[in-house]
Amino acid sequence: MAIRPDDRPHPGFYVLLICLVFMSAGPIALMLMNSFKLNVDITSPTAGLLFMPTLQNYETALCEFLPYDPEHLRRCDPTFGRALVNSLIISLVATGLTLVLGCMAAYAIVRFRFMGRDAASFTTLIMRMVPPAVLLVPVFGIWNEQFGLDGTRSGIILVYVAMNLPFVIWILQSFIVQVPIQLEEAARIDGAGPFRVFFLVVLPLIQPGLAAAAIFTFRIAWNEFLLANALSDRNSRTVPVTIVNSITEYNIDWGVIMATGMLLAIPPILFTFFASRQIITGMTAGAVKG
């Protein structure tokens, strides 16, 4: 147990690391592998690592976008393709709106003294804990009776923006505080109005914070199921909703479902690989600033 920063790690240390990597990535790798298998290979008791990889599952899921007709398909079910388009539009628009509204609000709370500031800051903090399940009942009533937004993408976008704003405002505050106020004062003395100061001085300096906030918002909007399920109709369904719909059936088509699951997981996985530093900064900023 002699752990000192300068001595060489115990061999057990590397064994532990390898075990951890295997445990963390194993289930994901297993799903990736199964998404390239035919159902006979998935369900047969003998097949393991040796199998003939196939793209059939992906062809079935994405048949609408293929320039050719896959031979194993009798007919193309456009459900998944449509859901993919919906998911993309909804998450991108929701992320963009949340960021714009969120960084402006965070700036107001950090840099200005005004009536209602404490109330705004406190409400944001409290709202962070509201579980999506709590919004389910009101969403049933309000979105279709009063807003007339049920079954539309805008309805889903609205609820995602509202749900993510508290977290984004909270995280961005800790980045805006770090911007040296002298820079803003200098810009103001040079005659820039508050909005120009904000957009041309502050925003470029908090880019890492914006990146972290964007990834977190996109991830929640892209992955969310419960409210999307309540608010969407056949035409506005998102990918998580179609996945859940296809597993409640008695006979699960494991191959296709693993492929669709993988397609849903790919964007967050890519973000993780390209921006893990920002993600970790965002997570730590969120926890350290109580």
Binding site: Y107, M127, L136, N223, M258, G261, V288
Partner: protein, 312 residues
């Protein structure tokens, strides 16, 4: 002149207004609406205006319902078990792996993967792995000649299986925050204790853990709040079953609303859940305030001591 001043006074509101408006319309108003709905006997085929006002009846019914209390205790048990196991493993790993290694950033990337991918997909993966015939765990067991385990169809196992999936997904969160806390500790304190002859175990117990405590407590409370929100992973794996063994409150709210079409009752249940979460949030809030005040006092005392030293 007065015009410019008026404009200045309005500036913060102009920055705040768009976000405040969206949150008021789509967050605060719905929560108020939910409180109102909890006093109604309301099903989705009615407009809310047609629903009968029943006062506290929904709350009273739930309070007297055994199955509600069972869900309540399942929720508490789930949250407490997953958070404590995740804290122990996450902090333990952070203490073990706290070294400057070349590949560390790659490892951290791999560790965050489980919490970035959709809960729906996580549920799907584990449902597959726990599958009685197709799943890998039971295949390994039968390859070894052992009896297979009904991971998701036996109520005791189902609870454990759901807990394991959550631990897999969220332990990295604790690990990363604990590691960040550990690496931001003042190296001088650890170095000093080493010079004084503290063993690694003593360093952990008397220097590192106490210094990390503020971050660890906030991390723990944040994770606890999130553990009460878990829904989709369990929905895909067991949908609350078998029986009520994995039916946590968030899932029960969603089933009461969509399957049993009791919107009033679901709203009352949502309120109970909100009250529970508000208590935890309040604890977190008070803790951070008290802790900030304590740190400020220590810092002030330190500054004073330095000043006196300089004067002397």
């Amino acid at each position: 002149m007065s015009n410019i001043q008026a404009a200045n006074r309005l500036t913060p509101y102009m920055f705040l207004a768009p976000a405040a408006a969206v949150m008021a319309i789509a967050l605060l108003y719905p929560i108020g609406y939910m409180v109102w709905a909890s006093f109604l006997d309301w099903n989705p085929s009615q407009r809310i205006g047609e629903a009968d006002f029943v006062g506290f009846q929904n709350y009273i019914n739930l309070w007297g319902s055994d199955s509600f209390w069972e869900s309540f205790w399942v929720t508490i048990r789930f949250a407490v078990v997953v958070v404590s196991v995740e804290m122990v493993i996450g902090v333990g790993l952070a203490l073990l792996l706290d070294r400057q290694l070349k590949g560390m950033s790659v490892l951290r990337t791999i560790f965050i993967l489980p919490m970035m991918i959709a809960p729906i997909v996580v549920g799907l993966m584990w449902r597959y792995m726990y599958h009685p015939q197709v799943g890998v765990f039971n295949r390994w067991l039968s390859d070894l000649g052992l009896p297979t385990i009904p991971f998701l169809s036996d109520s005791g196992w189902a609870f454990a299986s759901v807990v394991i999936a959550d631990i897999w997904q969220w332990t990295p969160f604790i690990f990363i925050l604990a590691l960040a806390a550990l690496q931001s500790l003042p190296p001088s304190a650890i170095e000093a204790s080493r010079v004084d002859g503290a063993t690694p175990m003593q360093q952990i117990l008397y220097i590192k853990l106490p210094l990390m405590m503020p971050v660890l407590i906030v991390t723990c409370l944040l994770r606890l709040i999130d553990a009460f929100k878990v829904l989709e992973v369990i929905l895909v794996m067991t949908n609350g079953g078998p029986g009520l063994s994995t039916e946590i409150l968030a899932l029960r709210i969603s089933r009461t609303a969509s399957e049993f079409r009791q919107l009033g009752e679901a709203a009352a249940m949502s309120n109970y859940l909100l009250i529970l979460l508000m208590i935890i949030t309040a604890i977190m809030f008070i803790y951070t305030r008290v802790n900030d005040a304590r740190l400020a006092r220590i810092r002030a005392a330190g500054a004073k001591a330095t000043q006196e030293e300089e004067e002397a």
